[in-house]
């Protein structure tokens, strides 16, 4: 019994379960014999439905808008020193942040040092999302039909033969700047605005631009499934290991032995630079992975 169920489950996952015949439904045709005196014609019914639909939509829309506006007017003023958000935690961040994390950019010090666990789980959420997209959209021999195969081949030919010259020239001029800006934002996350997520998103957008101008085959020479898997999992594991080390030493009152350096230098602020690079890698890979899985069904 158990084995049978497992067999059926695996057949269902692989899509090889035998086709069911059409269901035999009982005859549901109802014969109207009597006709009511005041019956609306179909056209009138549709008109009535449309008017009612519009009225209900307007009422719901107005209700939601008024609730939202009421909430906005209940919010405390922007930048008011008596706001509830201005409390001991913020005071601690502002006063001791530079000293404790070594990051000039206080936002990076907050999200990658004080609250690095949040950031780790956010990166894991991205990783999980791309894994689910892969489960749904990755092409293999069990979930692809002959027609889709032919269509894919057509796309490949179109991509190769009918490439846009203007787009290619513009991309070859703009792309180095985009990638350099992305790397700059990642590496300077603890000094200037930005950080792992922003820089990674910029780099991922650059990869997508390159793929849409020159075709995904061209990108695959540099960035294929193997690099995708290696880079994302290594970055996440590196993040987890370095943060586990600092949690372990912090909880036991030990000295981490990681120098904070002089604030403002590129090699400063302890682990923030390493973690920024990890997050940037994960984000860039997942952004590109989303695009290429949606567009082509393979990385």
């Amino acid at each position: 019994m158990k084995k049978d169920m497992w067999k059926r489950f695996s057949a269902w996952v692989n899509g090889t379960s035998e086709e069911r015949g059409p269901l035999e439904l009982p005859d549901t045709a109802v014969h109207h014999e009597k006709k009511k005196l005041f019956e609306l014609s179909d056209e009138q019914k549709i008109r009535l439905f449309k008017a009612g639909y519009l009225a209900v939509a307007a009422v719901v829309c107005l209700a939601v808008v008024s609730v939202l506006l009421y909430t906005v007017f209940q919010l405390p003023l922007f930048g008011d020193p008596n706001n509830p958000a201005v409390n001991d935690v913020v005071e601690r961040y502002v006063e001791k942040g530079l000293e404790e994390t070594g990051a000039v950019n206080m936002v990076a010090g907050m999200i990658i040092d004080y609250r690095s666990f949040d950031n780790f789980v956010e990166s894991s959420v991205l990783f999980l999302a791309v894994t689910s997209v892969m489960m749904l959209l990755l092409r293999d021999k069990n979930n692809i039909s002959r027609e889709e195969d032919i269509q894919e081949e057509h796309e490949r030919i179109i991509e190769k033969e009918a490439s846009d010259l203007i787009l290619q020239k513009v991309v070859s001029m703009v792309l180095p700047c985009i990638m350099l800006f992305g790397v700059y934002v990642v590496l300077n996350g603890h000094i200037s605005p930005g950080g792992g997520f922003s820089g990674g998103a910029v780099m991922g957008a650059g990869l997508i631009l390159y793929a849409s101008a020159f075709g995904t085959d061209k990108v695959r020479e540099l960035f294929n499934m193997k690099t995708f898997k290696t880079v994302t999992s290594t970055a996440l594991l590196c993040y987890a290991a370095s943060k586990a080390y600092s949690f372990y030493t912090g909880a036991n009152g030990l000295h981490t032995g990681i120098p904070l350096g002089t604030p403002g230098a590129i090699f400063s602020s302890g682990l923030i630079l390493v973690l920024d690079i990890c997050v940037g890698m994960v984000v860039a890979c997942t952004m590109y992975g989303f695009y290429v899985l949606f567009a082509r069904g393979e990385i």
Partner: protein, 84 residues
């Protein structure tokens, strides 16, 4: 001057939001949505959060729009991608 500029931005934000809802063609709606994100980027920069501005420009105006467009192509909602 700054206040007038901010008001102009917020007004165009509202116009973008409404016209994205009202537009009949999905492609136009996606492009308007990307313009919305671009205006939002300027507003973040004016509110002195440049890191959010960078993220909004890359994610909102770039990646999300492209993902929408690929999905529209995938479900054959764009002109010229329908199987004849």
């Amino acid at each position: 001057m700054t206040i007038a500029f901010e008001m102009l931005l917020i007004l165009s934000l509202i116009i973008c939001a409404v016209s994205a809802l009202m537009s009949r063609r999905l492609l136009v709606a996606v492009v308007i949505y990307m313009a919305y994100s671009l205006i939002m980027t300027i507003i973040w920069a004016l509110l002195m959060s440049p890191d959010l501005a960078i993220t909004e420009a890359a994610v909102g105006a770039g990646v999300t729009g492209i993902l929408f467009l690929t999905t529209l192509k995938k479900i054959h909602a764009l002109k010229g991608t329908k199987d004849e």
